[in-house]
Symmetry: C2
Subunit: 360 residues, 2 copies
């Protein structure tokens, strides 16, 4: 058995469940902090764990360039290298090769590109992406896909979706099955219901261990995204985890869980934390605002994170304003904790059969 | 009783002891990590504590400008603001006002200067410096002094030293005595034995709780510094702690302890850690060197710090090279641990009556 997924309880379209991997279990709905370059920026992994995170996301594109997949393998894989012994999901590199690299050439075979770091030439294909994720020792490998831009014509979306389908076949063949490790397929088709249906039918027939929704959170806005999520999860297998890639703000996550999604990843809590934005149950605040200069209270009174337990808003305001690393660190810890607490709250509501009565 | 200092054992001129403060005890010889702006750069205080540090140094000059001494007091003092519940020593601001600020005007009264941050005008004097350190809630307040430059003529060094003496009188008067809090006087006189003797006589007669050696580690080199340390501690009271300000490299510390010094502070372990220099029992290494790119070993095999327990040199090399915060964090943790272990080793040797047989 590669990965095991059990559903615990359902409420309308939402579900709670447990995804079992070789490195431990993940309670769903789950939020995955992003550790792009083999580290959640500024945070020791034991502190990431303390926020409640049960799985991290690593970026194949960044890691293949530096330190290199072979080097990560030489160092015992991503878990061992970065001292994170819980599950790791890696993306396929498909999205970032399109957004970060220069001089891309897309062919049936894959994507030829120049590194954004030093211009060196690299190839990503279903086979190389899958093999790199094997070398990284990723618990959840993502199939190599082409993420369609937004907006895109129906014709171009269909061509792109069909390429993704063929690449999904090749990704599945390239995947080495192991106990406690699995592979997710990615459904494309932009905002076109007929294409999403075709893509879902094709990808689910291949038989992955979970299914991801790609091509959303690319600028279409929440309403358009929710329109797709209103029907797409119904095309996906009931008994496999559903992962909405690159999402999102708390309200995006809540809306997506309501529509049947189980997994999420996003840089928002970490990146916006470094920029001074803190998430609270009453919405976001900008800690750089001078109104916090003398505030002795923590960011959130009932938050049990390191930042809220031990530090005033005034101190964090000061650290962020003068550019001390500890400011970014405390903001990141708070935001990651906020996101994990949000997921916990969501899971509790589903288990208790209650509608979500919170928006953030 | 303000501060209590007990000497445990002596070996030749070296001594071990215990300095008791309202926030806990400090084993001497002691090394104080520097938390310039109310944070040891990049490190949560619980992790600073884990390195073995028993006291931190804060910088009056930086803190008076931002967040401001009154604000720190409003936030409960430096311990509470930065969540460090062990002892804190603050410098007087005298050294940094000379090295960092612009448009200084030194008078008998004190130093008028413009902030290096925004050009705003400020005054530091024996009275304001002592009062700021009171507002910061510093366990060990330093007298306000003029740190002489190097080299300096005998005549100028004498004029400066005499100003420092008069400022020491005023600093002592301005100091509010409290249980578990104390004040150290600073001995100046550059490299001139007669001036050092005069300064020591004058400052010790005022009757501080400890005595610092100023005007060294300002470019004179280790040999010249050791020449001063060969005689100066003999002019200082036996039963009070002796603090060599701004020192230093491991070999500086070892040489100074041999000559009877008890306390040290320096940015070297933190600053050089952020720049990729790691301290080891076999000397310093530059983690950025490409020879570490594939090294699976930790920086030091027998070091029990977070960095050496959990991470390879190759991973830290990679993090530092790509500029990930975690690289600077792990290097800082290792170096601070190295320094604290060095002090522990020094104390053990003294307690056992053995000569130091190590140089770094």
């Amino acid at each position: 058995m590669s990965l095991k997924f059990e559903i615990f309880s359902k409420h309308k379209k939402s579900r709670t469940g447990l995804l079992r991997t070789a490195h431990g279990n993940i309670q769903t709905p789950a939020f995955m902090p992003v550790g792009t370059r083999g580290t959640v920026k500024g945070i020791l992994p034991e502190i990431v764990e303390q926020t409640g995170a049960e799985i991290l996301l690593g970026n194949t594109y960044h890691l293949m360039l530096k330190p290199g997949a072979e080097r990560v393998a030489h160092l015992g894989g991503l878990h061992k290298m970065m001292n994170w012994n819980k599950p790791i999901l890696t993306d396929s590199g498909g999205f970032q090769v399109m957004s970060l690299s220069s001089l891309r050439k897309i062919t049936e075979d894959g994507v030829l590109f120049n590194s954004h770091i030093d211009g060196s030439k690299h190839m990503l294909s279903p086979e190389t992406s899958t093999n790199i994720q094997y070398l990284l020792d990723s618990n959840i490998t993502m199939a190599f896909d082409e993420c369609s831009q937004y907006p895109i014509s129906h014709e171009d979306a269909e061509i792109s979706m069909e390429l993704t389908n063929r690449w999904a076949d090749r990704s599945r063949i390239a995947f080495v099955k192991r106990y406690g490790y699995g592979q997710f397929g990615i459904i494309q088709g932009s905002v076109y219901p007929d294409l999403r249906k075709k893509s879902a039918d094709y990808i689910t027939k291949i038989g992955f261990d979970g299914f991801a929704i790609g091509g959303l959170a690319v600028g279409e806005g929440q309403e358009v995204m929710f329109n797709v999520l209103d029907y797409l999860p119904d095309f996906m297998p009931e008994n496999k985890p559903r992962y909405l890639m690159g999402v999102g703000k708390p309200s995006d996550i809540i809306g997506a869980v309501k529509r049947g999604v189980d997994m999420f990843d996003c840089v928002i809590p970490t990146r916006s934390g470094r920029n001074g934005q803190a998430f609270t149950k009453n919405g976001t605040i900008n800690i750089r605002n001078s109104k916090y200069i003398n505030v002795q209270n923590p960011i959130e009174h009932d938050c049990e994170c390191i930042a809220c337990t031990n530090y005033s808003m005034a101190y964090i305001h000061y650290l962020v304003k003068v550019g001390e690393m500890l400011g970014a660190i405390l903001m990141t810890i708070h935001n990651l904790t906020y996101y994990q607490n949000l997921m916990k709250r969501i899971r509790n509501y589903i288990d208790e059969g209650r509608d979500f009565d919170f928006q953030t």
